[in-house]
């Protein structure tokens, strides 16, 4: 077994609200090895951000962890391999040992995640000085190096500037530089490019990929954009209503999806070759998790739903060594159902494009 960096096992979280308990995360499992990239895909409210906030120990105060563990593997201060369950540690320990130091996070909107009253340089050096007591001179030099690494020219000058003096793409580069300042083992990117233009988005994704390769760190992407996922991810987890409904490597998810929700997500997004008259849509909207879900949470929106979907939640069925999906359609007793034609046509087209470019699908 290669080096695991984080294992989320059977995580289950509720939120206390005035309207009652909202069961936001309903037993999820995520594994990640060093140097890998995993993407968590889902609509808003599916629980993807909450999962990662739990891993960072920054859950809102009304959150209740019902069960589960988040095991994080790291090298401790004496250079020994160590493992910790983040959910069992207090905020202070996490603050000192995990946040920004071993796991850091890149948020969606760089204008809100940067402090408008602090210079860029000070914000990059902050973490190093706080965590490692790096001397100021050394921290300054390292920060300049980081700015160059993330592709900012005139680094010396930028160090003394404030966030409002930079463009959106530049700001997100600064946020990435801050995240890398303490040499983390794991980088969590929560919708890192949603607030950016498409040209800048492409550049930021290329940057994160480059940094990941050079530093050999693990990256978790949280996003709803399947185009972004195809660009960056090794493995994909598709989340729906607080559960992971399909997991597999990126080729399995895009060329051989099994769950009707994944079918819907993939076909609802037009690609450049889509010329169908209508887009395939998933009817309705996600369930309200305030009410306990009976059976499969997706059943109400699923035109392939069977009687059993209303009664029992499907287990994860194994498709291949790395590919699992939670849908009763994969049960041997279920009728054989094909994915929607729009999608199978598109997958055929994509495979054709890959073949004609002389690459192979494995």
């Amino acid at each position: 077994m290669a080096d695991k960096i984080i294992e989320i096992n059977n995580l289950d979280i509720s939120f206390k609200t005035t309207a009652g308990l909202v069961h936001a995360i309903r037993g999820i499992n995520v594994d990640l090895e060093k140097g890998e990239t995993v993407a968590i895909v889902g609509e808003s409210g599916s629980g993807k951000s909450v999962t990662m906030k739990a891993a960072m120990g920054i859950l809102a105060s009304n959150a209740v962890v019902n069960s589960g563990e988040i095991l994080f593997h790291y090298t401790d201060d004496d250079g020994q391999p160590a493992m910790v369950d983040i959910l069992q540690k207090d905020k202070r320990w996490i603050r000192n040992n995990i946040n920004g130091r071993r796991i850091s996070m890149v948020f969606q909107d760089p204008m809100t995640s940067l402090d408008p009253t602090m210079t860029i340089g000070k914000q990059i050096m902050e973490g190093m000085i706080w965590h490692y007591k790096t001397p100021k001179k050394e921290a300054w030099d390292k920060a300049v190096g980081l700015l160059k690494e993330v592709g900012i020219e005139d680094a010396q000058k930028r160090m003394k500037q404030y966030p409002h003096q930079l463009s959106g793409g530049m700001r997100q580069r600064v946020v990435i530089a801050i995240a890398l300042a303490c040499d983390p083992d794991l980088l969590i990117c929560d919708e890192p490019t949603t607030a950016l233009d498409v040209t800048i988005q492409a550049k930021i994704l290329e940057l994160i990929k480059k940094v990941q390769k050079e530093r050999h760190i693990a990256v978790i992407y949280i996003t709803h954009d399947l185009g972004v996922v195809a660009t960056v991810a090794d493995y994909v987890n598709v989340m729906y209503a607080g559960k992971i409904v399909e997991v597999g490597n990126v080729n399995e998810i895009y060329y051989d999806p099994k769950h009707p929700y994944t079918w819907g997500l993939l076909s609802a997004m037009p690609d450049l070759d889509t010329d169908d008259d209508r887009l395939y849509t998933i009817p309705g909207s996600p369930p309200n998790l305030l009410h306990e879900v009976k059976g499969d949470a997706f059943a109400a929106r699923n035109k392939y739903a069977m009687k059993i979907d209303d009664e029992a939640d499907p287990p994860m069925f194994q498709v291949s060594k790395t590919h699992w999906a939670a849908t009763w359609l994969l049960d041997p007793r279920a009728p054989k159902v094909q994915m929607p034609k729009e999608l199978s046509d598109r997958i055929e087209r994509m495979k054709e494009a890959v073949r004609s470019a002389g690459k192979s699908i494995d």
Binding site: D197, V198, G227, A230, T231, D271, T274, R278
Partner: protein
Amino acid sequence: MPENQSTKEPILKVTDLKQYFKISDSYTVKAVDGVSFDIYPGETYGLVGESGSGKSTIGRAVIRLYDPTDGRIEFDGMDITGKMSRKNENTLRTRMQMIFQDPMASLNPRKTVGDIVAEGLDIHHTYKTHEERNQMVSEILKKVGLSPEHRSRYPHQFSGGQRQRVGIARALIMNPKLIIADECISALDVSIQAQVVNLMKDIQQETGTAYLFIAHDLSMVKYISDRIGVLHLGHLLETGTKDEIFDNPLHPYTRSLLSAIPSPNPIFEKGRISETYDYKTSGINYSEGTYHHISGQHYVKCTDEEFNKWNS
């Protein structure tokens, strides 16, 4: 694509539109700098560009939320630049409608959906009896996939997709000939986006309304539009049918924009590097360019020299 386009009169004709914002005595932002395009009845014209390129400003100038600095906007054969006659203003305010980006911010939280949708009717007194008004509201709600019972509810009682349907109903009830959709799906989830886009297409087929579709999601723009205009820094750099733009992009900016679109094809995506385009170092001066005809309806804004270079 509407047939016999050359014989049809455009519903909207924008000529050399300029929209400047004076910040101080010495500083003026030229948000839109000499943009011309036409929209024909029943078609969808997509405007794309990065933030700050002026696409929303164009939408707002066209519907006269702003006073254009210079240029001419003709809607349905009448001049709507400068001071309008009462009759023209009335026509503009009924026959051109707008759908906004964030439905929560654009719907009055203290009004019922029925009143929100009927506001245009109330202002323009287009009904005779109260029953007629309610009848019209119910019909339009049904058309956008809501039910008449939703009339008495408030915006917060709806989901994001339903709220955007209310926004569409509000625009539709005036029987518009042109709807300006300013990023109207970007705040919605992927699965909901598809529902709204399908609805917009259905409505267009049924009512023959034209759309000015402003967005930054290029795959969606390509899917919904008949023709596309590419904006950058207030200049319309390239315009043409969607196939002309996507199959044969000429301007380096268009090319960099298209190369940046992520596609859901992982094997392809892994090795792809997007083209870089920087206006400052590209040596291109947008203001010196004039429109050059390439083929069909495909035009690019550049100097003669650049045109020869790119088109070779």
